[in-house]
Protein backbone atom coordinates (compact mmCIF):
# COMPACT_ATOMS: atom_id res chain seq x y z
CA UNK A 1 0.00 0.00 0.00
CA UNK A 2 1.63 3.30 -1.07
CA UNK A 3 2.40 5.83 1.65
CA UNK A 4 4.21 8.32 -0.58
CA UNK A 5 3.60 9.04 -4.26
CA UNK A 6 5.22 11.76 -6.30
CA UNK A 7 3.98 12.57 -9.78
CA UNK A 8 6.10 14.55 -12.24
CA UNK A 9 7.70 16.41 -9.39
CA UNK A 10 9.78 19.32 -10.65
CA UNK A 11 11.68 21.94 -8.72
CA UNK A 12 13.43 24.84 -10.37
CA UNK A 13 15.36 27.34 -8.23
CA UNK A 14 15.78 30.92 -9.52
CA UNK A 15 13.35 30.34 -12.44
CA UNK A 16 13.58 33.94 -13.61
CA UNK A 17 17.32 34.54 -13.29
CA UNK A 18 19.65 31.57 -13.51
CA UNK A 19 17.34 28.52 -13.44
CA UNK A 20 18.68 25.51 -11.54
CA UNK A 21 16.71 22.30 -12.10
CA UNK A 22 16.90 20.42 -8.80
CA UNK A 23 14.18 17.90 -9.73
CA UNK A 24 12.89 16.95 -13.18
CA UNK A 25 9.59 15.07 -13.44
CA UNK A 26 10.30 12.71 -10.56
CA UNK A 27 7.63 10.08 -10.12
CA UNK A 28 8.15 7.48 -7.40
CA UNK A 29 5.96 5.40 -5.13
CA UNK A 30 7.02 4.23 -1.67
CA UNK A 31 4.97 1.59 0.14
CA UNK A 32 4.30 1.32 3.85
CA UNK A 33 7.09 -0.41 5.73
CA UNK A 34 9.78 0.18 3.15
CA UNK A 35 13.35 0.97 4.13
CA UNK A 36 14.37 3.16 1.22
CA UNK A 37 17.55 5.07 0.57
CA UNK A 38 17.78 7.84 -1.97
CA UNK A 39 21.33 8.01 -3.19
CA UNK A 40 23.33 10.12 -5.55
CA UNK A 41 26.16 12.60 -5.69
CA UNK A 42 25.95 16.09 -4.19
CA UNK A 43 23.50 18.24 -6.14
CA UNK A 44 21.62 15.27 -7.53
CA UNK A 45 18.37 16.39 -5.89
CA UNK A 46 17.99 13.82 -3.10
CA UNK A 47 17.64 16.39 -0.29
CA UNK A 48 15.24 18.45 -2.42
CA UNK A 49 13.13 15.34 -2.97
CA UNK A 50 13.04 14.62 0.76
CA UNK A 51 12.06 18.25 1.47
CA UNK A 52 9.18 17.98 -1.02
CA UNK A 53 7.95 14.72 0.50
CA UNK A 54 8.17 16.24 4.00
CA UNK A 55 6.27 19.35 2.96
CA UNK A 56 9.23 21.55 3.92
CA UNK A 57 9.44 23.01 0.41
CA UNK A 58 6.99 23.53 -2.44
CA UNK A 59 7.57 22.06 -5.92
CA UNK A 60 7.52 24.17 -9.07
CA UNK A 61 5.14 21.61 -10.55
CA UNK A 62 3.88 18.11 -9.87
CA UNK A 63 2.28 16.62 -6.79
CA UNK A 64 3.25 14.80 -3.62
CA UNK A 65 0.63 12.50 -2.17
CA UNK A 66 1.19 11.30 1.37
CA UNK A 67 -1.33 8.69 2.37
CA UNK A 68 -3.58 10.09 -0.35
CA UNK A 69 -3.25 13.74 0.78
CA UNK A 70 -1.76 16.19 -1.71
CA UNK A 71 0.70 18.00 0.58
CA UNK A 72 1.62 20.55 -2.09
CA UNK A 73 -1.85 22.07 -1.71
CA UNK A 74 -1.76 22.36 2.07
CA UNK A 75 -1.36 25.81 3.62
CA UNK A 76 1.46 26.54 6.06
CA UNK A 77 -0.60 25.95 9.20
CA UNK A 78 -2.09 22.73 7.77
CA UNK A 79 1.36 21.54 6.76
CA UNK A 80 2.77 22.06 10.27
CA UNK A 81 -0.09 20.05 11.71
CA UNK A 82 0.28 17.41 9.01
CA UNK A 83 3.98 16.99 9.73
CA UNK A 84 3.31 16.77 13.46
CA UNK A 85 0.87 13.91 12.98
CA UNK A 86 2.43 11.99 10.09
CA UNK A 87 6.13 12.59 9.63
CA UNK A 88 9.22 12.05 11.77
CA UNK A 89 12.41 13.93 10.91
CA UNK A 90 16.05 13.02 11.47
CA UNK A 91 18.55 15.70 10.49
CA UNK A 92 22.19 15.38 9.57
CA UNK A 93 23.23 17.64 12.47
CA UNK A 94 20.88 15.95 14.99
CA UNK A 95 19.19 19.31 15.84
CA UNK A 96 18.30 18.37 19.38
CA UNK A 97 17.11 21.09 21.73
CA UNK A 98 20.32 21.80 23.66
CA UNK A 99 18.59 22.93 26.85
CA UNK A 100 16.55 19.70 27.08
CA UNK A 101 17.63 16.30 28.34
CA UNK A 102 17.41 13.21 26.11
CA UNK A 103 14.11 12.32 27.77
CA UNK A 104 12.70 15.84 27.24
CA UNK A 105 13.86 15.93 23.62
CA UNK A 106 12.04 12.67 22.91
CA UNK A 107 8.87 13.58 24.79
CA UNK A 108 8.77 17.12 23.36
CA UNK A 109 6.96 16.11 20.18
CA UNK A 110 4.38 14.18 22.23
CA UNK A 111 3.83 17.31 24.33
CA UNK A 112 3.08 19.15 21.08
CA UNK A 113 0.62 16.35 20.25
CA UNK A 114 -0.90 16.76 23.73
CA UNK A 115 -0.47 13.09 24.55
CA UNK A 116 -1.35 11.67 27.94
CA UNK A 117 1.50 12.14 30.44
CA UNK A 118 1.66 8.51 31.48
CA UNK A 119 1.69 7.28 27.90
CA UNK A 120 4.29 9.90 27.06
CA UNK A 121 6.62 8.80 29.86
CA UNK A 122 6.22 5.14 28.98
CA UNK A 123 6.84 5.69 25.26
CA UNK A 124 9.88 7.89 25.94
CA UNK A 125 11.46 5.31 28.23
CA UNK A 126 10.74 2.50 25.79
CA UNK A 127 12.28 4.36 22.87
CA UNK A 128 15.37 5.47 24.78
CA UNK A 129 15.88 1.86 25.92
CA UNK A 130 15.34 0.70 22.36
CA UNK A 131 18.04 3.00 20.98
CA UNK A 132 20.39 1.93 23.80
CA UNK A 133 20.30 5.16 25.79
CA UNK A 134 18.47 3.96 28.89
CA UNK A 135 21.31 5.19 31.07
CA UNK A 136 21.51 8.64 29.44
CA UNK A 137 17.90 9.71 29.82
CA UNK A 138 18.82 12.76 31.86
CA UNK A 139 21.87 13.74 29.84
CA UNK A 140 21.83 16.90 27.77
CA UNK A 141 23.01 16.87 24.13
CA UNK A 142 26.39 18.41 24.99
CA UNK A 143 27.03 15.49 27.36
CA UNK A 144 26.52 12.94 24.56
CA UNK A 145 28.57 11.81 21.56
CA UNK A 146 27.38 12.48 18.00
CA UNK A 147 26.17 8.90 17.65
CA UNK A 148 24.23 9.09 20.89
CA UNK A 149 22.67 12.39 19.87
CA UNK A 150 21.57 10.93 16.53
CA UNK A 151 20.02 7.98 18.36
CA UNK A 152 18.05 10.43 20.49
CA UNK A 153 16.98 12.13 17.24
CA UNK A 154 15.74 8.77 15.88
CA UNK A 155 13.86 8.13 19.14
CA UNK A 156 12.35 11.62 18.86
CA UNK A 157 11.28 10.98 15.27
CA UNK A 158 9.61 7.71 16.33
CA UNK A 159 7.97 9.17 19.44
CA UNK A 160 4.97 10.62 17.64
CA UNK A 161 4.26 7.25 15.93
CA UNK A 162 4.59 8.83 12.45
CA UNK A 163 3.53 7.19 9.18
CA UNK A 164 7.10 7.50 7.96
CA UNK A 165 10.46 8.95 8.89
CA UNK A 166 12.51 11.19 6.64
CA UNK A 167 16.20 11.21 7.40
CA UNK A 168 18.57 13.48 5.50
CA UNK A 169 22.10 12.05 5.57
CA UNK A 170 21.61 10.65 9.08
CA UNK A 171 25.05 9.05 9.25
CA UNK A 172 27.04 11.84 7.58
CA UNK A 173 28.28 13.27 10.87
CA UNK A 174 29.02 9.88 12.48
CA UNK A 175 32.03 7.58 12.55
CA UNK A 176 31.70 4.06 11.09
CA UNK A 177 30.84 2.34 14.34
CA UNK A 178 28.21 4.89 15.30
CA UNK A 179 26.81 4.86 11.76
CA UNK A 180 26.43 1.07 11.74
CA UNK A 181 24.92 1.14 15.18
CA UNK A 182 22.38 3.76 14.11
CA UNK A 183 21.54 1.80 11.00
CA UNK A 184 20.92 -1.33 13.10
CA UNK A 185 18.52 0.64 15.25
CA UNK A 186 16.70 2.10 12.25
CA UNK A 187 16.32 -1.36 10.68
CA UNK A 188 15.08 -2.80 13.93
CA UNK A 189 12.56 0.01 14.36
CA UNK A 190 11.45 -0.43 10.75
CA UNK A 191 10.77 -4.06 11.55
CA UNK A 192 9.37 -3.71 15.09
CA UNK A 193 7.38 -0.49 14.72
CA UNK A 194 6.46 -1.03 11.08
CA UNK A 195 7.62 2.52 10.34
CA UNK A 196 8.60 3.47 6.81
CA UNK A 197 12.08 4.97 6.54
CA UNK A 198 13.10 7.17 3.65
CA UNK A 199 16.58 8.54 3.87
CA UNK A 200 19.09 10.23 1.67
CA UNK A 201 22.70 9.17 1.80
CA UNK A 202 25.87 8.84 -0.18
CA UNK A 203 27.42 6.57 2.45
CA UNK A 204 28.08 3.19 0.80
CA UNK A 205 27.82 1.38 4.20
CA UNK A 206 24.26 2.61 4.48
CA UNK A 207 23.39 1.97 0.84
CA UNK A 208 24.52 -1.64 1.20
CA UNK A 209 21.95 -2.28 3.92
CA UNK A 210 18.96 -0.55 2.34
CA UNK A 211 16.15 -2.72 0.95
CA UNK A 212 15.38 -0.27 -1.82
CA UNK A 213 17.81 2.14 -3.43
CA UNK A 214 16.62 5.02 -5.60
CA UNK A 215 19.53 6.56 -7.45
CA UNK A 216 19.29 10.15 -8.56
CA UNK A 217 21.48 12.08 -10.96
CA UNK A 218 20.90 15.69 -12.00
CA UNK A 219 17.36 15.71 -10.58
CA UNK A 220 16.26 12.58 -12.43
CA UNK A 221 15.61 9.11 -11.02
CA UNK A 222 18.28 7.12 -12.80
CA UNK A 223 17.67 3.77 -11.09
CA UNK A 224 15.21 2.23 -8.67
CA UNK A 225 16.45 -1.05 -7.22
CA UNK A 226 14.41 -3.29 -4.89
CA UNK A 227 16.50 -5.76 -2.87
CA UNK A 228 15.51 -8.78 -0.82
Amino acid sequence: MPIVQTENLTKVYNPETVPVHALRNVSITIDTGEFTSIVGPSGSGKTTLLNMIGGLDKPTSGTVLVDGVNVTRLKDRQLINFRLKNIGFVFQHFNLIPVFTARENVSFIMLLQKKDKKEMRQRTDELLEAVGLGSLKDARPREMSGGQQQRVAVARALASRPRFILADEPTASLDTRAAMNLLDIMLRMNHEEQVTFIFSTHDQRVIDRARRVITMVDGIVEADEHRK
Partner: protein, 406 residues
Protein backbone atom coordinates in the same frame (compact mmCIF):
# COMPACT_ATOMS: atom_id res chain seq x y z
CA UNK B 1 1.67 26.91 28.37
CA UNK B 2 3.76 24.86 30.77
CA UNK B 3 5.75 23.52 27.82
CA UNK B 4 6.39 27.03 26.47
CA UNK B 5 7.33 28.34 29.91
CA UNK B 6 9.76 25.47 30.42
CA UNK B 7 11.45 25.92 27.06
CA UNK B 8 11.53 29.71 27.42
CA UNK B 9 13.00 29.48 30.92
CA UNK B 10 15.67 26.98 29.81
CA UNK B 11 16.52 29.11 26.77
CA UNK B 12 17.08 32.12 28.98
CA UNK B 13 19.71 30.25 30.95
CA UNK B 14 21.40 28.90 27.83
CA UNK B 15 23.68 31.97 28.00
CA UNK B 16 23.58 33.11 31.62
CA UNK B 17 25.98 36.01 31.00
CA UNK B 18 23.93 37.39 28.11
CA UNK B 19 20.65 37.02 29.94
CA UNK B 20 22.28 38.55 33.01
CA UNK B 21 23.37 41.56 30.95
CA UNK B 22 19.85 41.98 29.56
CA UNK B 23 18.26 41.69 33.01
CA UNK B 24 20.82 44.20 34.30
CA UNK B 25 20.05 46.52 31.36
CA UNK B 26 16.33 46.47 32.14
CA UNK B 27 17.02 46.92 35.86
CA UNK B 28 19.45 49.79 35.32
CA UNK B 29 17.19 51.34 32.68
CA UNK B 30 14.22 51.34 35.03
CA UNK B 31 16.33 52.47 37.96
CA UNK B 32 17.86 55.30 35.90
CA UNK B 33 14.50 56.43 34.53
CA UNK B 34 12.93 56.40 37.98
CA UNK B 35 15.88 58.23 39.52
CA UNK B 36 16.02 60.89 36.80
CA UNK B 37 12.29 61.49 37.07
CA UNK B 38 12.45 61.38 40.87
CA UNK B 39 15.33 63.85 40.86
CA UNK B 40 13.59 66.17 38.39
CA UNK B 41 10.37 65.91 40.43
CA UNK B 42 12.32 66.73 43.58
CA UNK B 43 14.03 69.65 41.87
CA UNK B 44 10.78 71.09 40.57
CA UNK B 45 8.84 70.42 43.74
CA UNK B 46 11.61 71.92 45.85
CA UNK B 47 11.68 75.03 43.71
CA UNK B 48 7.88 75.23 43.71
CA UNK B 49 7.57 74.65 47.43
CA UNK B 50 10.41 77.01 48.10
CA UNK B 51 8.97 79.88 46.12
CA UNK B 52 5.37 79.25 47.16
CA UNK B 53 5.92 78.47 50.81
CA UNK B 54 8.79 80.84 51.52
CA UNK B 55 7.31 83.90 49.91
CA UNK B 56 4.90 83.70 46.98
CA UNK B 57 2.01 81.75 48.59
CA UNK B 58 -0.68 80.02 46.55
CA UNK B 59 -2.30 83.26 45.56
CA UNK B 60 -1.89 86.98 46.09
CA UNK B 61 -4.32 89.88 46.18
CA UNK B 62 -3.27 93.35 44.96
CA UNK B 63 -4.72 96.58 43.74
CA UNK B 64 -5.25 95.97 39.98
CA UNK B 65 -2.49 98.48 39.06
CA UNK B 66 0.07 97.42 41.64
CA UNK B 67 1.61 94.38 39.89
CA UNK B 68 2.58 96.49 36.86
CA UNK B 69 3.33 99.86 38.39
CA UNK B 70 4.32 99.08 42.00
CA UNK B 71 3.25 102.54 43.20
CA UNK B 72 2.74 102.82 46.97
CA UNK B 73 -0.58 104.61 46.47
CA UNK B 74 -2.01 101.55 44.66
CA UNK B 75 -2.85 99.81 47.93
CA UNK B 76 -5.65 97.30 48.47
CA UNK B 77 -9.01 98.96 49.07
CA UNK B 78 -11.28 97.42 51.72
CA UNK B 79 -8.35 95.45 53.12
CA UNK B 80 -10.08 94.62 56.40
CA UNK B 81 -13.21 93.40 54.65
CA UNK B 82 -11.13 91.04 52.50
CA UNK B 83 -9.08 89.66 55.42
CA UNK B 84 -12.28 89.08 57.46
CA UNK B 85 -13.73 87.15 54.51
CA UNK B 86 -10.53 85.12 54.24
CA UNK B 87 -10.54 84.41 57.99
CA UNK B 88 -14.02 82.91 57.68
CA UNK B 89 -13.31 80.82 54.61
CA UNK B 90 -12.59 77.12 55.29
CA UNK B 91 -10.44 76.72 52.16
CA UNK B 92 -7.93 79.24 53.52
CA UNK B 93 -5.13 77.90 55.69
CA UNK B 94 -3.59 81.31 56.49
CA UNK B 95 -2.88 84.72 55.02
CA UNK B 96 -0.41 87.55 55.53
CA UNK B 97 -0.73 91.19 54.55
CA UNK B 98 2.32 93.05 53.28
CA UNK B 99 3.19 96.68 52.69
CA UNK B 100 5.51 97.01 49.73
CA UNK B 101 7.42 99.78 48.04
CA UNK B 102 10.47 100.14 45.85
CA UNK B 103 13.30 102.32 47.13
CA UNK B 104 17.01 102.87 47.61
CA UNK B 105 19.25 101.35 50.25
CA UNK B 106 22.01 103.73 51.21
CA UNK B 107 25.05 102.80 53.22
CA UNK B 108 28.45 104.52 53.57
CA UNK B 109 29.75 102.11 50.90
CA UNK B 110 27.15 102.22 48.13
CA UNK B 111 23.55 102.65 47.10
CA UNK B 112 21.35 99.78 45.85
CA UNK B 113 17.87 99.62 44.38
CA UNK B 114 15.71 97.36 46.56
CA UNK B 115 12.14 96.28 47.15
CA UNK B 116 11.17 97.07 50.72
CA UNK B 117 8.73 94.57 52.16
CA UNK B 118 6.82 95.45 55.29
CA UNK B 119 5.54 92.33 56.99
CA UNK B 120 3.65 91.34 60.10
CA UNK B 121 5.98 88.86 61.80
CA UNK B 122 3.24 86.73 63.39
CA UNK B 123 1.07 86.51 60.24
CA UNK B 124 4.09 85.95 57.99
CA UNK B 125 5.40 83.14 60.20
CA UNK B 126 1.96 81.49 60.10
CA UNK B 127 1.72 81.82 56.34
CA UNK B 128 5.21 81.39 54.90
CA UNK B 129 8.45 79.76 55.94
CA UNK B 130 10.55 82.79 55.10
CA UNK B 131 11.80 82.96 58.71
CA UNK B 132 13.68 79.69 58.02
CA UNK B 133 15.98 81.71 55.76
CA UNK B 134 17.39 83.54 58.77
CA UNK B 135 21.07 82.81 59.20
CA UNK B 136 22.00 85.39 61.80
CA UNK B 137 20.25 87.73 64.23
CA UNK B 138 16.50 87.95 64.79
CA UNK B 139 13.45 87.97 62.57
CA UNK B 140 12.24 91.58 63.04
CA UNK B 141 11.17 90.97 66.64
CA UNK B 142 14.38 92.56 67.90
CA UNK B 143 14.19 95.29 70.48
CA UNK B 144 15.47 97.85 68.01
CA UNK B 145 13.77 100.87 66.56
CA UNK B 146 12.87 100.29 62.90
CA UNK B 147 14.47 96.84 62.62
CA UNK B 148 15.27 95.50 59.17
CA UNK B 149 16.60 92.25 57.85
CA UNK B 150 18.72 92.10 54.77
CA UNK B 151 20.44 89.27 52.96
CA UNK B 152 23.95 88.25 53.81
CA UNK B 153 24.97 89.03 50.22
CA UNK B 154 23.64 92.58 50.47
CA UNK B 155 25.24 92.99 53.89
CA UNK B 156 28.61 91.91 52.47
CA UNK B 157 28.23 94.22 49.47
CA UNK B 158 27.50 97.15 51.78
CA UNK B 159 30.01 96.04 54.39
CA UNK B 160 27.24 96.03 57.03
CA UNK B 161 26.74 93.97 60.18
CA UNK B 162 23.89 93.38 62.60
CA UNK B 163 23.11 96.54 64.54
CA UNK B 164 24.37 98.83 61.76
CA UNK B 165 22.16 101.60 60.49
CA UNK B 166 20.92 101.82 56.94
CA UNK B 167 18.90 104.51 55.24
CA UNK B 168 15.95 103.63 53.03
CA UNK B 169 14.61 106.23 50.61
CA UNK B 170 11.27 105.83 48.83
CA UNK B 171 8.18 107.64 47.58
CA UNK B 172 5.24 107.93 49.97
CA UNK B 173 1.56 107.82 49.02
CA UNK B 174 1.63 111.61 48.55
CA UNK B 175 4.33 111.07 45.93
CA UNK B 176 6.98 112.73 48.02
CA UNK B 177 10.43 111.29 48.56
CA UNK B 178 11.05 110.32 52.13
CA UNK B 179 13.99 108.75 53.91
CA UNK B 180 14.13 106.83 57.11
CA UNK B 181 16.81 105.06 59.11
CA UNK B 182 16.50 101.34 59.92
CA UNK B 183 18.72 99.04 61.96
CA UNK B 184 19.88 95.65 60.77
CA UNK B 185 18.35 93.07 63.11
CA UNK B 186 19.21 89.95 61.17
CA UNK B 187 20.59 88.42 58.01
CA UNK B 188 18.92 85.92 55.70
CA UNK B 189 19.99 83.75 52.80
CA UNK B 190 17.46 82.36 50.35
CA UNK B 191 18.09 79.87 47.55
CA UNK B 192 18.22 82.71 45.01
CA UNK B 193 21.12 85.14 45.14
CA UNK B 194 19.24 87.50 42.79
CA UNK B 195 16.29 87.61 45.21
CA UNK B 196 18.70 88.21 48.08
CA UNK B 197 20.21 91.24 46.37
CA UNK B 198 16.86 92.90 45.73
CA UNK B 199 14.76 92.45 48.89
CA UNK B 200 14.77 93.97 52.34
CA UNK B 201 12.29 93.19 55.13
CA UNK B 202 10.97 95.61 57.70
CA UNK B 203 7.98 95.63 60.02
CA UNK B 204 4.76 96.49 58.23
CA UNK B 205 3.67 98.90 60.96
CA UNK B 206 6.97 100.84 60.71
CA UNK B 207 6.81 101.10 56.91
CA UNK B 208 3.11 101.95 56.65
CA UNK B 209 3.57 104.75 59.19
CA UNK B 210 6.21 106.37 56.99
CA UNK B 211 4.39 105.65 53.73
CA UNK B 212 0.91 106.84 54.66
CA UNK B 213 0.65 107.57 58.36
CA UNK B 214 -2.02 104.86 58.55
CA UNK B 215 -2.20 101.11 57.88
CA UNK B 216 -2.11 100.41 54.15
CA UNK B 217 -1.37 97.07 52.47
CA UNK B 218 -0.32 96.29 48.94
CA UNK B 219 -0.37 92.56 49.02
CA UNK B 220 -2.21 89.76 50.77
CA UNK B 221 -0.49 86.40 50.43
CA UNK B 222 -2.89 83.49 50.89
CA UNK B 223 -2.09 79.84 51.53
CA UNK B 224 -4.94 77.44 50.86
CA UNK B 225 -5.51 74.07 52.46
CA UNK B 226 -5.17 72.43 49.03
CA UNK B 227 -3.00 73.94 46.29
CA UNK B 228 -5.13 72.33 43.62
CA UNK B 229 -8.05 74.64 44.51
CA UNK B 230 -6.04 77.79 43.75
CA UNK B 231 -7.46 78.65 40.35
CA UNK B 232 -11.08 78.22 41.41
CA UNK B 233 -10.48 80.20 44.58
CA UNK B 234 -8.85 83.07 42.68
CA UNK B 235 -11.79 83.21 40.28
CA UNK B 236 -14.16 83.34 43.23
CA UNK B 237 -12.18 86.16 44.86
CA UNK B 238 -12.11 88.26 41.71
CA UNK B 239 -15.84 87.79 41.32
CA UNK B 240 -16.59 88.54 44.96
CA UNK B 241 -14.51 91.71 45.41
CA UNK B 242 -14.28 94.72 43.15
CA UNK B 243 -11.14 96.77 42.58
CA UNK B 244 -8.76 94.00 43.48
CA UNK B 245 -6.73 91.60 41.42
CA UNK B 246 -6.28 88.08 42.76
CA UNK B 247 -3.69 85.95 40.93
CA UNK B 248 -2.51 82.38 41.20
CA UNK B 249 1.15 81.55 41.78
CA UNK B 250 1.35 80.48 38.14
CA UNK B 251 0.23 83.96 37.03
CA UNK B 252 2.42 85.70 39.57
CA UNK B 253 5.50 83.72 38.69
CA UNK B 254 5.25 82.61 35.05
CA UNK B 255 8.93 81.67 35.15
CA UNK B 256 8.20 79.19 37.95
CA UNK B 257 5.24 77.81 36.02
CA UNK B 258 7.46 77.56 32.95
CA UNK B 259 10.16 75.75 34.95
CA UNK B 260 7.57 73.21 36.11
CA UNK B 261 6.28 72.71 32.55
CA UNK B 262 9.82 72.59 31.16
CA UNK B 263 10.65 70.06 33.84
CA UNK B 264 7.81 67.85 32.64
CA UNK B 265 9.08 68.08 29.05
CA UNK B 266 12.63 67.33 30.18
CA UNK B 267 11.43 64.31 32.14
CA UNK B 268 9.61 63.07 29.06
CA UNK B 269 12.65 63.60 26.83
CA UNK B 270 15.10 61.95 29.22
CA UNK B 271 12.70 59.05 29.71
CA UNK B 272 12.35 58.67 25.93
CA UNK B 273 16.14 58.59 25.50
CA UNK B 274 16.55 55.99 28.26
CA UNK B 275 13.68 53.92 26.88
CA UNK B 276 15.03 54.10 23.33
CA UNK B 277 18.47 52.94 24.51
CA UNK B 278 16.84 50.15 26.50
CA UNK B 279 14.62 49.15 23.58
CA UNK B 280 17.51 48.94 21.10
CA UNK B 281 19.62 47.02 23.62
CA UNK B 282 16.89 44.46 24.05
CA UNK B 283 16.23 44.28 20.32
CA UNK B 284 19.93 43.61 19.70
CA UNK B 285 20.18 40.91 22.36
CA UNK B 286 16.98 39.14 21.27
CA UNK B 287 18.07 39.24 17.62
CA UNK B 288 21.46 37.78 18.55
CA UNK B 289 19.72 35.01 20.45
CA UNK B 290 17.45 34.42 17.45
CA UNK B 291 20.23 34.25 14.84
CA UNK B 292 22.07 31.73 16.99
CA UNK B 293 19.02 29.48 17.04
CA UNK B 294 17.89 29.64 13.41
CA UNK B 295 18.52 25.91 12.82
CA UNK B 296 16.83 24.94 16.06
CA UNK B 297 13.79 27.08 15.28
CA UNK B 298 13.72 25.57 11.78
CA UNK B 299 13.74 22.12 13.39
CA UNK B 300 10.86 23.08 15.70
CA UNK B 301 8.82 24.20 12.69
CA UNK B 302 9.77 21.04 10.79
CA UNK B 303 8.66 18.66 13.50
CA UNK B 304 5.35 20.44 13.93
CA UNK B 305 5.61 23.27 16.45
CA UNK B 306 3.14 25.94 15.37
CA UNK B 307 4.22 29.49 14.54
CA UNK B 308 1.96 30.83 17.27
CA UNK B 309 3.80 28.70 19.81
CA UNK B 310 7.19 29.85 18.51
CA UNK B 311 6.03 33.47 18.70
CA UNK B 312 4.76 32.94 22.24
CA UNK B 313 8.00 31.19 23.21
CA UNK B 314 10.16 34.17 22.11
CA UNK B 315 7.79 36.66 23.75
CA UNK B 316 7.76 34.61 26.94
CA UNK B 317 11.55 34.66 27.01
CA UNK B 318 11.46 38.44 26.68
CA UNK B 319 8.71 38.68 29.27
CA UNK B 320 10.59 36.60 31.85
CA UNK B 321 13.79 38.56 31.26
CA UNK B 322 11.95 41.86 31.45
CA UNK B 323 9.98 41.06 34.55
CA UNK B 324 13.11 39.83 36.29
CA UNK B 325 14.93 43.04 35.34
CA UNK B 326 11.93 45.22 36.11
CA UNK B 327 11.48 43.69 39.56
CA UNK B 328 15.15 44.21 40.39
CA UNK B 329 15.05 47.73 38.93
CA UNK B 330 11.89 48.61 40.86
CA UNK B 331 13.35 47.30 44.10
CA UNK B 332 16.61 49.20 43.54
CA UNK B 333 14.76 52.36 42.54
CA UNK B 334 12.44 52.14 45.53
CA UNK B 335 15.34 51.64 47.92
CA UNK B 336 17.32 54.48 46.32
CA UNK B 337 14.33 56.83 46.35
CA UNK B 338 13.51 55.90 49.93
CA UNK B 339 17.07 56.55 51.06
CA UNK B 340 17.73 59.68 49.00
CA UNK B 341 14.25 60.97 49.78
CA UNK B 342 15.43 61.21 53.39
CA UNK B 343 19.07 62.21 52.99
CA UNK B 344 18.68 64.21 49.77
CA UNK B 345 21.02 64.29 46.78
CA UNK B 346 23.80 66.64 47.75
CA UNK B 347 24.96 68.78 44.85
CA UNK B 348 26.98 71.14 47.00
CA UNK B 349 29.69 71.45 44.37
CA UNK B 350 27.11 73.15 42.13
CA UNK B 351 25.59 75.19 44.97
CA UNK B 352 26.72 78.55 43.62
CA UNK B 353 25.35 77.94 40.13
CA UNK B 354 22.14 76.48 41.53
CA UNK B 355 21.61 79.52 43.79
CA UNK B 356 21.94 81.84 40.80
CA UNK B 357 18.90 80.25 39.20
CA UNK B 358 17.06 79.86 42.48
CA UNK B 359 17.62 76.19 43.27
CA UNK B 360 18.82 74.60 46.46
CA UNK B 361 21.76 72.20 46.19
CA UNK B 362 20.07 69.52 48.30
CA UNK B 363 17.45 67.72 46.21
CA UNK B 364 14.98 65.24 47.71
CA UNK B 365 13.86 62.96 44.88
CA UNK B 366 10.39 61.48 44.93
CA UNK B 367 7.98 59.64 42.68
CA UNK B 368 4.31 58.96 43.27
CA UNK B 369 3.25 55.31 43.40
CA UNK B 370 1.19 55.93 40.27
CA UNK B 371 4.20 57.30 38.36
CA UNK B 372 6.34 54.49 39.75
CA UNK B 373 3.97 51.84 38.43
CA UNK B 374 3.50 53.74 35.17
CA UNK B 375 7.29 53.82 34.68
CA UNK B 376 7.49 50.07 35.29
CA UNK B 377 4.67 49.53 32.83
CA UNK B 378 6.46 51.68 30.25
CA UNK B 379 9.71 49.69 30.68
CA UNK B 380 7.86 46.39 30.31
CA UNK B 381 5.95 47.73 27.28
CA UNK B 382 9.15 49.00 25.65
CA UNK B 383 10.81 45.63 26.20
CA UNK B 384 7.87 43.74 24.77
CA UNK B 385 7.67 46.10 21.80
CA UNK B 386 11.40 45.61 21.20
CA UNK B 387 10.91 41.82 21.37
CA UNK B 388 8.06 41.90 18.90
CA UNK B 389 10.35 42.19 15.86
CA UNK B 390 12.58 39.22 16.82
CA UNK B 391 9.47 37.17 17.63
CA UNK B 392 7.88 38.01 14.28
CA UNK B 393 11.18 37.25 12.56
CA UNK B 394 11.26 33.88 14.33
CA UNK B 395 7.90 32.84 12.92
CA UNK B 396 9.08 33.78 9.42
CA UNK B 397 12.01 31.37 9.61
CA UNK B 398 11.72 28.64 6.98
CA UNK B 399 11.69 25.06 8.25
CA UNK B 400 14.51 24.32 5.78
CA UNK B 401 16.83 26.27 8.09
CA UNK B 402 16.93 23.04 10.11
CA UNK B 403 18.73 21.26 7.28
CA UNK B 404 21.34 23.95 6.67
CA UNK B 405 24.97 23.39 7.55
CA UNK B 406 26.22 25.23 10.65
Amino acid sequence: MHLLLTIAWRNIWRHPARSGVLIAAVAVGLWAAVMVIGWANGLMQQRMDYVIERELTHLQIHHPDFPDDGHPWDHIPDHNQITSWLDDHPQVRSHASRTITDGMLQSPVKTSGVRIRGIDVAAETRTTTFHENMVQGEFLDADLSNPAIISRILADEHNMRIGNRIVLTFENVDRELTSSAFHIAGLFTSASSEYDKRNIFVRSKDLTEILAGRPIFHEIGVMLVHEIETEAFVAMLNKHFEDILAQTWRELSPELSMIVELGDVMILLISLIIMAALGFGILNTMLMALFERMRELGMLLSIGMSKVRIFCMIMLEALILTFSGALIGMALAWLSLHHLGQTGINLEMFAQGAALIGFDYLIYPFLSIGDFLLMSLVVVSVTLAASLYPALKAVRIHPLEAARDA
